[in-house]
Structure formats: structure tokens, C-alpha cells
């Protein structure tokens, strides 16, 4: 029960923002957000209200998490191998 898509903040007027989803623009309310946002930030929007600020780096950070998991499994596999050999 969670359809929310990230959109880029274009401009802000009081507690509403104009946002852009890949070339589709609409307005969103910001009064459901804790943190302030600035143009250029991304926000997660659910039914016309922002619920979270995302910065562009967050995508990269997430990929690092995935890579860390893969590495940790490789490391423990290698550790097992070296014990066996």
C-alpha cells in the first residue's frame, strides 16, 4: 500500500512545491515532511504529499549496500576455502 515515486523539486512556494517526474510536472504538498527541501532535491511523493527527501547520492549509497553484502559472502566463502585447504 505504498505507491510513491521520487520526483525532482523544481520550485517551492510556502509549503507546496512544483516537482518533475521525468518531464511531467505537478505540485505536491510539503507539510507532511519533517526536513526542509530545496530545488534540485528529490522527494518521495504519495498521493500528492511529500513523505521523504532523497538526495541524488542516496541511489549510489544503496548500491554500495548491495555490493557490501556480496563482498561479505565472498569473504566468508574464501575464509572457508582457506581453512579447508
Amino acid at each position: 500500500m505504498c505507491l510513491a515515486a521520487p520526483a525532482k523539486v523544481i520550485s517551492i512556494t510556502n509549503s507546496t512545491a512544483v516537482v518533475d517526474y521525468n518531464g511531467v510536472q505537478t505540485t505536491t504538498r510539503l507539510d507532511t515532511l519533517t526536513e526542509p527541501v530545496a530545488p534540485g532535491d528529490y522527494v518521495l511523493i504519495h498521493t500528492g504529499f511529500a513523505i521523504r527527501r532523497l538526495s541524488a547520492e542516496d541511489g549510489e549509497e544503496t548500491l554500495k549496500l548491495f555490493d557490501q553484502l556480496a563482498e561479505s559472502l565472498n569473504d566468508s566463502a574464501e575464509a572457508t576455502d582457506s581453512r579447508d585447504s
Binding site: M1, N22, Q25
Partner: protein, 341 residues
């Protein structure tokens, strides 16, 4: 009784002088005279004639249009009606010979809107060098019909006609451009959604593009993916030929705005209408050549090979997803609605 000269009244459909005036001032001037037969539109006879070429198959198609809104980003019901019928002929491999136009208009409809719609219709025909040769006008009372309904019937010549059931294993699946534009543009245009975008309907007659590739041969099946989108068209093509259509999702061209709307509304671009596109299933020997020729045409600029035909699941469409998963892509059901979950 005072006439409101700006709006349609029941007399405009009554076959008398008022109707004659409507046609003379607001309909006929938009059309060029036709040379396709001895008796044509300007003769205002009970019918029109076509001198048939000696070879080929006569193809006939008919469509009714009740689209709302009547005027939408990128076109209107007139352009949609003309392009829709011309495209049905084109994807049968048929050179269009002539169209008919029948309208049923609600009383009080604004006459200058009739002008706009008919002009759009006429301009689309002119772009594909196709004459209008006959028509009909009716008026229904206020509330008895919603605005305007249009029926068009088209005749064409194909040599040979290309159906939608001829796919064989090994064939290549090509789309002539981005998917979902028309359906998503209309969704975005709904006033209550407050969305702004430059996305417009792709409505266009594709005959000028299709005619360039017909001489190549090797086109086993063709369809225009209108209501139900690409998913519906491919399912029909797979089911009728009892083959499997293997689709590669990352290869399907989707405009960024269409993707954005899809993410926002939870509606798949593969399930909404296209009105200026074709899907072709062709022999592998000609696939690259046809792709190149499509891309040379402005309407086929974004053409892509999106899949191939196999046999593992006869009658089904299998999608390899962007992440490398696999699932069946089945016939969509009904009109999509935006969702919250």
C-alpha cells in the same frame, strides 16, 4: 423560432436546406476533390464510385470513435478517426483508396468545433493522399448523445493483404516507435489530475511510413496496438499463430514522460493505446533492413527490435524484465485506473 447560428440544431441533420448549408460552409470546403472514381463527394449523390485497380485484394475496415476529451494534446477526434482507419488499412498492407465519414452530433454542439474536427480529419487524409468520397450527418437531441460520435469506413488495395496471424518461429518483432504515448497523454490531460507535460498523443497516419517497407517483403504479421496497447496486440498475434512471442523489456522504447506517468499512476505503458505506431513480425532475413528503413522515416525514428518468436508456450507472450526476471505478459483487462498501492 430563432436560430442560434453558432450551434447545431436538429434541422442540421434533417436533410434539407439547413443541412446543405452546414455541409457547404463547414464540411465540404475542407476536402480536396477526388479523382478516384467517376462519381465523388462533390456530386453529393447517394453514393460514390471507385475505379478498382485490376490486381490485389480489396480491404475494408470500419471504426467508430467516441473519444473524450474531443480535443486532446496532439490531436482531436477528427484526426483520431482519420488516422485510425488509415492505420487499420496500412497494417493490413493496404494502400488507402477512399474513406467515408459519418457523424452524429448532439444538438447545441458548437459549429466552429465541427469545423475544427472536420478540418483535422481532412488534413490527415490529405497527408496520406486519400480522398473522402461519401458521408452522412445526423443530429440527436440534447443529452441523447454525448457531444459527437464519428464512424469512418475505409477501403484499400493490398497485394497481398497482411494479416495478424502469420508469425512463425524465428521471426523478429519490431515496433515502429515509443509505446504508451496516446493513452498516457490522455490520462495526463485529465483536468482533475493537475499534471503538466509536453507529452502529446502520437496520433498520426502511418501509411506514408508503412508504404516504404512493404516492397521489402517478409512481413508475416502486422497490427496497430490501439486499445489494450502493445500487450493486447502481441497476445492476439501469438494466440492466432500459436507461437510464443518472447519480449525483451529493456528494448521497448518508452518516452521519459510516459515512464514518469507510469510510476506516478501505477499504470503500465504496455497496456495503453497507441495511435501512430505499428508492431511488425518479420522474417529474420529482412529485419535489419526493415528497421533501418523505418528509422529513416520521421514516424519511425525510434523503431526498435523488441523480441522474437519462439514456440515454448504456444499462444503466450513471455516478458524478460528489465532486471532479468521472466514472466508471462497476458491480455490486459479493461481500462486501467490510477492506483495508490
Amino acid at each position: 423560432m430563432t436560430q442560434n447560428n453558432d450551434r447545431i440544431s436538429p434541422l442540421h441533420g434533417a436533410g434539407g436546406a439547413m443541412m446543405g448549408q452546414l455541409l457547404a460552409e463547414h464540411v465540404l470546403p475542407h476536402f480536396v476533390s477526388s479523382q478516384v472514381g467517376r462519381i465523388n463527394l462533390s456530386d453529393m449523390d447517394d453514393g460514390a464510385t471507385i475505379a478498382l485497380p485490376s490486381a490485389g485484394e480489396l480491404v475494408m475496415t470500419t471504426d467508430s470513435h467516441v473519444v473524450k476529451p474531443i480535443f486532446f494534446p496532439g490531436g482531436d477526434i477528427g484526426k483520431l478517426a482519420a488516422a485510425g482507419t488509415l492505420n487499420d488499412l496500412a497494417v493490413m498492407g493496404a494502400r488507402p483508396l477512399a474513406l467515408s465519414l459519418a457523424v452524429i452530433i448532439e444538438e447545441d454542439f458548437i459549429i466552429s468545433d465541427v469545423d475544427r474536427i472536420v478540418k483535422s480529419f481532412a488534413d490527415t487524409l490529405i497527408g496520406s493522399e486519400t480522398p473522402l468520397i461519401c458521408g452522412d450527418t445526423k443530429v440527436m437531441g440534447r443529452g441523447e448523445i454525448d457531444g459527437i460520435a464519428i464512424n469512418t469506413t475505409g477501403l484499400g488495395i493490398a497485394d497481398p493483404a497482411i494479416g495478424d496471424a502469420g508469425a512463425v518461429a524465428g521471426d523478429v518483432v519490431i515496433v515502429t516507435g515509443s509505446m504508451g504515448d496516446h493513452g498516457m497523454a490522455l490520462m495526463a490531460a485529465r483536468e482533475e489530475f493537475h499534471l503538466e507535460t509536453e507529452l502529446i498523443s502520437d496520433v498520426a497516419s502511418i501509411w506514408p511510413m508503412i508504404r516504404t517497407i512493404l516492397p521489402v517483403g517478409g512481413i508475416h504479421a502486422m497490427k496497430d496496438p490501439t486499445r489494450g496497447g502493445l500487450a493486447a496486440a502481441l497476445n492476439e498475434m501469438a494466440s492466432k499463430s500459436k507461437t510464443t512471442i518472447e519480449l525483451n523489456q529493456p528494448a521497448i522504447p518508452i518516452r521519459p514522460e510516459v515512464q514518469g506517468l507510469s510510476d506516478m499512476l501505477g499504470i503500465s505503458p504496455l497496456e495503453v493505446a497507441n495511435e501512430g505506431k505499428a508492431v511488425l513480425i518479420v522474417s529474420p532475413a529482412v529485419a535489419d533492413q526493415i528497421l533501418e528503413m523505418l528509422r529513416k522515416h520521421p514516424l519511425g525514428h525510434d523503431a526498435e527490435i523488441i523480441g522474437h518468436v519462439g514456440g515454448e508456450y504456444p499462444g503466450r507472450v513471455v516478458l524478460t524484465t528489465d532486471v532479468g526476471g521472466r514472466r508471462f505478459l497476458d491480455m490486459p483487462l479493461g481500462d486501467p485506473v490510477p492506483r495508490i498501492c
